[in-house]
């Protein structure tokens, strides 16, 4: 976990108190096409918020506004108690960003890429070797990025996002298209940062990733947040839990599905008590099911 210049784990400094990021009624339109339409949410230190939505839902435009690349046409952004309109540079100095595209310099080595961005952050004290080791690139740090695999490039972009020891991490589809090993490695890094107290905003269209990583999930579609809660609450409130019971009846396998509502107890007792019971499976709703319930369409 230790990777800073002095080899000491740092704690997140948050003079604003409990809130790392606040987005209020953000709006942005490209001409007539509204991309973001009144998005509001808050993010606490150490919290992982998953922004879940299909392609074109408004996730990337929201991210661009939150990291200071795009000024909102309406609404406001406050990061660590500072307004984006007034303190953009100060905020960006404390933000770590992983972009969806692997925007690195292919003819520079991994170490040279990190060194360049460290200079942009005016952080000459960063131990680049320790950082490369943390993302599993210690032995390849002096190789040119053009020779890296997709997973290695993505890990390097995560290392770049951690260069300035950020208080807020913004990750746009950090595991998109990666092999399972690389994806797991990056999820591990995200969890470590959250445990350190870093506020993490994560956009993804992978419901399992959002479910596994996020403390809270916001569904976004057509530029609006449809729902925002913990994954558990979303599934409990808006998804269906079922029990699937299989029995052998007259030599044939018969399957019964019981939805867990108020009347489910009696029906389940009947099925379990009956002869020929083979298997009982409980099934929870997925975030995808909940999203469909809200948006009327799937996440793809």
């Amino acid at each position: 976990m230790a990777w800073g210049g002095c080899g000491v784990q740092t704690e997140v400094m948050n003079p604003a108190g409990d809130l790392a990021l606040r987005a209020s009624d953000l709006r942005y339109a490209y001409g007539d096409r509204v991309a973001v339409d009144g998005v509001s949410f808050e993010l606490a230190p150490g919290e992982v918020l998953g922004l879940l939505g299909p392609n074109g839902a408004g996730k990337s435009t929201t991210i661009k506004m939150l990291i200071g690349l795009l000024p909102p046409q309406a609404g406001s952004i406050e990061v660590l108690g500072m307004a984006m309109t007034e303190h953009r540079s100060a905020i960006q100095a404390r933000l770590g960003v992983v972009f969806e595209e692997k925007n690195l310099y292919p003819t520079l080595s991994g170490r040279e890429n990190l060194a360049f961005f460290a200079r942009l952050f005016a952080r000459r004290d960063v131990d680049l070797d320790a950082l490369l080791e943390r993302v599993g690139l210690a032995t390849r740090g002096r190789d040119r990025v053009s020779g890296y695999s997709k997973g290695m490039r993505q890990r390097l972009t995560v290392a770049r996002a951690l260069l300035n020891r950020p208080d807020v991490l913004v990750l746009d589809e950090p595991t998109d298209g990666l092999d399972p090993v690389s994806a797991r490695s990056i999820r591990g890094l995200i969890r470590e940062e959250a445990e350190r107290g870093v506020a993490v905003l994560l956009t993804t269209h992978d419901m399992y990733e959002a479910d596994g990583l996020s403390d809270r999930v916001a569904f976004i579609d057509e530029g609006r947040i449809l729902a925002l809660d913990t994954p558990e609450q979303l599934k409990l409130r808006h998804g269906q839990r079922t029990v699937r019971v299989r029995r052998r009846v007259d030599g044939q396998v018969e399957e019964s599905v019981v939805t867990l509502d108020d009347d489910a107890g009696d029906r389940l007792r009947e099925l379990v008590a009956a002869e020929g019971l083979l298997t009982i499976h409980t099934e929870e709703a997925t975030l995808e099911d909940v999203f469909v319930a809200f948006a009327g369409r799937r996440l793809e």
Binding site: Q92, V97, E112, F117
Partner: protein, 361 residues
């Protein structure tokens, strides 16, 4: 701390430039090639036109005529036979045209008997040369016959408007000097365009702008590096071609302005082109009109108005007048002012186009 992003981006871009084998190759090879071409070109100018002449029995008369014609820029080469003269004109190495007189020419002309002479030309010879040689034949006939036409020739006053450079013919080496310097500057425009376009197409620019670095830092870094690269290479070429032997400060200022000018256009080309083919296309679209003034300097006379309004006209004209004719600040300040105005315009254009492009990524 404000200098951090600018110096960081410059250092990074310089490293990218040096690692790009294509640009390193054309930079080194180009410089070597231009230096070689420069030193292979003739260092002296010979403005006379060699004319072959065959006039049997008229050698004494010719000797007198030769002295007069030499002052007019015509060098006469005497041949002893028509066949030799024809062969020499056809080869084109020794003479560009010939006058062939028959053996009876002198006697026939003196006695007033009709005779003829041949003007020998190749197909590429301009018609004005044929007319001039025909006039020479007529003058020669009048001189031999001792007769003058019944007119009194009016006095002709020769008045050269503008700068008289009739006796200051530049060698090929001197004429090509501004062209070579301009080409070195323009090649750097291409290299800078590529650096800018790659930054945009690979979206590394968004990663930069997500840090405390601002668009103005990116603009400043690209402008400074582009100017430094173009200027340093132009200075190296100028030094190796012995250009910096007089008016050194003035020449350095001219080259610096030239570097600023091509950097502005390099930013434009880089912002418009998103891949190698597009960069080449936009660079060539800008390269062709920008190199025209240097070509115009190869030909005598004042260039046409459309050439004089091109951004690099002030650069080419100043280089020719300073390196070729030894002029100084007081003579070339109007061209310097024009060049400076174009520098401001190109830099503003480059900044606006790149600034807009960066924000839209």
């Amino acid at each position: 701390m404000a200098s951090h992003p600018v110096t960081a981006i410059i250092a990074k871009d310089l490293r990218l430039f040096l690692r790009d084998r294509f640009y390193a190759f054309i930079t080194v090879l180009g410089l070597g090639f231009y230096v070689l071409v420069f030193w292979l070109l003739p260092a002296t100018a010979d403005p006379s036109i060699p004319i072959g002449l065959h006039l049997p029995g008229g050698e004494a008369l010719l000797a007198e005529a030769l002295e007069d014609e030499a002052d007019q820029g015509i060098e006469v080469v005497v041949f002893t036979s028509s066949q030799e003269l024809e062969a020499a004109v056809l080869a084109g190495d020794e003479v560009v045209a010939g006058l062939d007189f028959p053996p009876e020419f002198l006697a026939a002309t003196a006695s007033g008997t009709p005779t003829s002479a041949r003007v020998l030309l190749t197909g590429e010879a301009p018609t004005v040369l044929s007319d001039a040689l025909s006039a020479v034949v007529a003058e020669l006939a009048l001189a031999i016959a001792g007769q003058q036409p019944p007119v009194t020739f009016p006095e002709v006053e020769e008045l050269v408007l503008g700068v008289d450079r009739a006796d200051q013919v530049l060698s090929w080496r001197e004429q090509l000097r501004p062209l070579l310097l301009l080409i070195v500057l323009l090649v750097e425009m291409f290299a800078l365009a590529s650096l800018v376009a790659t930054e945009i197409s690979q979206r590394t620019i968004t990663a930069i702008l997500a840090t405390p670095a601002r668009v103005r830092d990116v603009l400043a870094a690209k402008t400074l590096l582009g100017t430094a690269l173009a200027f340093s290479q132009a200075v190296v070429l100028a030094a190796v071609t012995a250009t910096l032997t007089r008016q050194v400060v003035l020449l350095l200022v001219v080259l610096l302005l030239g570097a600023v000018l091509v950097t502005g256009f390099g930013l434009v080309a880089g912002s418009l082109g998103q891949d190698f083919i597009a960069i080449v296309f936009w660079s060539m679209v800008l390269f062709v009109p920008l190199v025209v003034p240097a070509f115009a300097m190869l030909f005598p006379g004042t260039p046409a108005l459309w050439i004089r309004v091109l951004p690099t006209y002030g650069l080419a004209e100043t280089l020719v007048r300073v390196t070729g004719y030894g002029e100084g600040w007081t003579q070339v300040w109007p061209e310097l002012a024009l060049l400076s105005a174009w520098c401001v315009a190109a830099s503003l254009l480059g900044a606006v186009v790149l600034g807009r492009r960066v924000v839209l990524v």
